[in-house]
Amino acid sequence: MCGIIGYVGADRSNAADVLLHGLSQLEYRGYDSAGIALADGKLDVHKRQGELSALENALAGADIGNQTTGIGHTRWSTHGPPSDRNAHPHTDAENRVAVVHNGIIENYQGLRDELSAEGIDFRSETDTEVIPHLIAGFLEDGLDHEAAFRAAIDRLEGSYAVAAVFAGSETVYAARHESPLVLGLADDGTYLASDVPAFIEFTDRVIYLEDGEFARLEGDEISVTDSEGRVVETSIETIEWDPEDAGKSGYDHYMRKEINEQPSALRECFRGRLDELSGRVTLEEFEGFELNPPVTFVACGTSYHAALFGAQLFREWGVPAHAYLASEFEAETMPIDTDSVVVGVTQSGETADTLRALREANAAGATTVAVTNVVGSSAARETDRVLYIRAGPEISVAATKTFASQQAALTMLAAALSNHRSRDLVRELRSVPDRIQSVLDEDAAREVASTYADASAYFFIGRGYHYPVALEGALKMKEITYKHAEGFAAGELKHGPLALVTEQTPVFAIVTGDGRRAEKTIGNVKEVEARGTPVVAITDGRSEVGRYADHVLEVPSAGEITSSMVANVQLQRVAYWTAHELGRSIDKPRNLAKSVTVE
C-alpha cells in the first residue's frame, strides 16, 4: 500500500514542489516513509522514514530548485520495516535509473537471487529494488531507456504501478498491472499518480491507464502504448469534483469534518433516487437489471459492516443474501456461477481483497456489482454495474461519512432490486440527514468520551440492524484510540464475552423502538448492569433501557433501519472524542492506511 507520483514540467519549473504537494495529498495511502527523485542532471534522490514532514525538513536546505522532471513515493510497509533505506525511490548501483512502485512483486525473491548471483548488492529489503537493477542490466545490454524499462516490467509478476526516471532525461516512464495509476494532462506539464487528488490542483484532465499498458510522459505530451508497443487511443476524462474538498475547512481533523458532512453527503446519495409520492426507489444505474437470488456480498473492514447491513435488508425484503469478508471469499470453493450476483462494497474501489474476489466472481461468470465512492476506480471499471455512494472524497483513514452513505446506498439497492415499495421507508430515508444533524448539534457524546477515556476496553452490543453498527462502533474505537474494543450481537454476550466485562469496561448498547428486539437487548443490558459495568445506551427513549444506563446518547425516534444510520453517528463521535482526549493521531492512526491495495 503506497502512493506514487510523477511529473514532467513543460518549461523550467520546480518539480520538487509539485511532487511534495502531490505526496501530501496521497498520504492517506500510507505514510511511514517518503521520497523523491529528480532527474534533470544526475539523479538526485532524497528519502526519509516517517511522515512527509520528515522529508520536507530534509529538503529544506537542499539545492533542488529548477528541475523539471521527477518521481515521488509515500510508503506503507509490506516488505521490510519502515526505514530510510527501504523508502522509495530505489536506484541501480550506478544511479542511472530511479524507480517508485506501488503493489507487490510476487516473484521478487527469484529475481533477487538471480541478480545477487550476478554480483549485484541489494541495499534494501524491498521487493521494488529488483526493478532498477533489472533496468540497469538491460541498459548494459545496449537497450535504450524505454526498451530497458519495458523489458524489466516484462519480468515482473504480481501487482504494480511503477514509474521510473533516468539520469539526465526529462521523461517519466510508467506501467501498471492491478494497481491504480492515473495520468494528468495540463498546459504546464504532465502528471501521473496513484490517485487524482495528487495533481487535481493543477489539472482536471485525466487518463486512466489500463492493466498492461505503458505510458511515456514528455513535456506536455503523454503517449500510451500496449504491452506490444502499439499506440493506444486513450480517452481524456474530466474530473468534476472540487479539489478544495481535500481541505479541512476549519476543523482540527478531517475525521471531524467528515463526520459533520454526513447530512450533506447523504442528501447527495439520495438525490434523484427517492420518490415519496409513489414510495419507490429508482436507481438509474440498475435499469433493466434482473435480480437472480441469492445475492453475495464481498467487502473488508467498515465496508464489510455495511455489507452485513445490506444483506440483512435483502433478506428482510424476501431475497436470500449473505455477506463475506473478501479475504475469505474463494469463488472456486463456493457455488458461484453464471447465475450468481456478487456485490463488492469498497469505498476506494481499489481494495485489493475485494477486487480479487470480484475478479474471481467475474471469472466464474457471475454478474458483478460495485458499490463504491470513487468514479473510475478499478472496482467501478471491472464490474457489470456500479452504484456510486456520492459521499465525496474521504481523507481520514477511519471511514465515517462513507459508511453512512454505504448504508444509505445499500438500503436503496435492496429496496430497488427486491421491488420493495414503501412510502414510510422513503419518508424515513428523507429524514435521515436532519436526524443526523440533530445528533451533531448536541455534545453528549463528548462528555461520555471524557468520562470513559481511561477505560481498559469498550464493548458494543446491538441486535438486528444494530448489530453491524455495534461492530462498526468497535472498529472506529480500535482504529483511532488504539484501545481494545469489540462489537457483539447482543444475544451472544452470555455465550462467552460476558467473562470480559468488568467495572472498567463500559458497554455501549444500541436500543431503539419498543419492539421485541429492544426488549431482548434490554435483557442483555441488565446482565451487564448487574455486574457493575457502566452502560451507555444509544436510544430513542421509546424503551426503558435508560433506566439501566449510566449515560444516554439520544437519537431521534424512527424505524430501526434508519435509526441504525443515526445511532452510528453517536458512536463515531464517542470514538473521535475519546481519541482526542487521548491525544491520538486521529486522521492517520498508526499501522493503518486509507485504502488497502495489497491482499
Partner: protein
C-alpha cells in the same frame, strides 16, 4: 489584483431566538439560502478572490455548510472563541490579512453593488477606512455616520438625535492600522466594537471616508423579518426557481413567486404560493395550503394543513389539518411586545405537532416542542415543551 475579504459570522443574533438555538444568525434562511451565502455571492460577484470567515457561535454549522471553498474561492476559517464584539472578531482575523482588506458583516443581506462602490471609493481616494453607507429614514437601531464631502466626521451607535445620518451598512475597506485602533479603543461592557475602532481612527486624525450606495441592504432583527427578506428576494426574481430534483405533483398548484429547493416534494391538491420559500427536502402534503411563508430545510407540512405568514426552522413537522392562520397581532420577544406585527407563527427547529393544532397569530414555539392533537397554541412556548389542549 482581487481584494481579500473578511466576513464576520461569529454572532448568535439573540433577538432572532429561538431560531438561533443551533446556528448563528448568518445561517438563517434568506428565502432558501443562508444569509451568509448571499454575502459570499455579493463578494465574489464584486471580484473578491479570497475570503476569511470569522466563526464562533455554533461554528461547525458554517464550516460544514460551505467547506473549504465557495464558487472556487478559498474560504479560510478563524475562530473567535468568545463573542466579545465586532472589533474583537476582526482582530481574530488579523493574522490572515495583508494590506487593504474588505470587511463585511455576514448576517446582513447585501448585493455586490455596495461592495463595488466601497472598493471603487477606496481605490480612488486614499483613506485608512472607507465605509459603505445606505440612506434610511430610521437609523436608531444601527450605526449612524455623518458625512462631509465624502469624509466621515462622526460615527455614532444608535443615534437618537435628528442630524442627517447615513446608515452604516457594515461594509468596509480598511488599511492595517484599523487593528491598532481597535486595540486602543476602550471596551464597553467588556466588548470591543468595530465602530469604536473607527471612532478612534477619527480621533487620531486618520482619513475615514464614506460612500453612499444604492445597493441592497437588509437586516433581519426579528424572526418575522425573514418573511420580508424573502418577499424582497422573490420580488427581485433572481431567487425564483423550482429545482430539477424537486417533485411537484401534476395536480398541485404553484402560485408565483416561489422558490422550491432541491429534493422538495409537493403532493397532489396542494397549493403553494405566492411568496413561499421551501428549503431543501421540504415536503408539502396532499391538499395542504402554504402562503407567504419561509419553511427551512426538512420541514414537513402534512396533508390538509393551512400555513400563512409562517417561519419555520429545520425539520419542523406540522401535522395533518393544523392551521397557522396568519395576520397581524402583538408578538412578545423577550420583554418587548411588538404591536400589529404580521406573523402567523415562528416554529423553531424540530417543533412537531400531531395534527389538528391551531396556532394563534404571533405564536413563537421553541425548538423541539411537541404540540399534541387538537391543541390551540398561542404566545411563547419554551423549548422542548409538550403542549396539550
Amino acid at each position: 489584483m482581487g481584494y481579500s475579504a473578511v466576513v464576520l459570522a461569529a454572532g448568535e443574533g439573540r433577538r432572532l431566538r429561538p431560531l438561533t438555538t443551533h446556528r448563528p444568525k448568518p445561517m438563517l434562511p434568506a428565502a432558501t439560502k443562508p444569509i451568509l451565502e448571499h454575502v459570499f455571492d455579493a463578494l465574489i460577484d464584486a471580484g473578491v478572490t479570497d475570503i476569511t470567515v470569522v466563526v464562533g457561535y455554533r461554528r461547525t454549522r458554517v464550516q460544514s455548510e460551505f467547506g473549504p471553498s465557495y464558487r472556487d474561492v478559498p474560504l479560510t476559517y478563524v475562530t473567535q472563541d468568545k463573542q466579545l464584539g465586532s472589533g474583537h472578531a476582526l482582530l481574530a482575523a488579523e493574522p490572515a490579512t495583508e494590506g487593504s482588506t474588505l470587511v463585511v458583516n455576514g448576517d446582513q443581506l447585501i448585493d455586490s453593488r455596495i461592495i463595488e462602490d466601497v472598493i471603487a471609493a477606496h481605490d480612488r481616494e486614499p483613506a485608512t477606512a472607507t465605509l459603505g453607507l445606505v440612506r434610511r429614514a430610521n437609523v436608531t437601531r444601527y450605526g449612524g455616520v455623518l458625512l462631509e464631502d465624502g469624509a466621515v466626521t462622526e460615527i455614532v451607535e444608535n443615534p437618537r438625535d435628528d442630524r442627517g445620518y447615513q446608515l452604516n451598512a457594515g461594509v468596509y475597506a480598511f488599511e492595517p492600522s484599523i487593528f491598532e485602533a481597535i486595540r486602543r479603543s476602550e471596551p464597553r461592557d467588556g466588548e470591543q466594537s468595530l465602530v469604536d475602532g473607527i471612532a478612534t481612527l477619527l480621533e487620531v486624525g486618520e482619513e475615514v471616508r464614506g460612500v453612499v450606495s444604492e445597493g441592497t441592504w437588509i437586516d433581519a432583527t426579528y424572526p418575522w423579518d425573514l418573511l420580508r427578506i424573502a418577499d424582497d428576494l422573490l420580488e427581485d426574481g433572481e431567487e425564483r426557481r423550482i429545482a430539477d430534483s424537486a417533485s411537484v405533483h401534476e395536480d398541485a398548484t404553484v402560485l408565483e413567486p416561489v422558490v422550491i429547493d432541491d429534493d422538495c416534494v409537493v403532493g397532489p391538491g396542494a397549493v403553494v404560493g405566492p411568496n413561499v420559500s421551501l428549503g431543501e427536502n421540504v415536503t408539502i402534503g396532499s391538499n395542504a395550503t402554504v402562503e407567504r411563508s419561509v419553511l427551512d430545510a426538512d420541514t414537513r407540512v402534512d396533508n390538509g394543513a393551512t400555513i400563512r405568514d409562517c417561519v419555520t426552522g429545520r425539520g419542523v413537522g406540522i401535522g395533518p389539518n393544523s392551521t397557522v392562520a396568519g395576520g397581524p397581532s402583538d408578538v412578545e420577544i423577550g420583554d418587548r411586545v411588538h404591536r400589529e406585527t404580521i406573523l402567523g407563527a415562528v416554529l423553531a427547529d424540530h417543533v412537531r405537532d400531531i395534527g389538528g393544532v391551531t396556532y394563534e397569530p404571533g405564536t413563537v414555539v421553541g425548538h423541539g416542542a411537541v404540540c399534541h392533537g387538537g391543541s390551540t397554541v398561542s404566545g411563547t412556548i419554551v423549548a422542548d415543551a409538550e403542549v396539550w389542549s
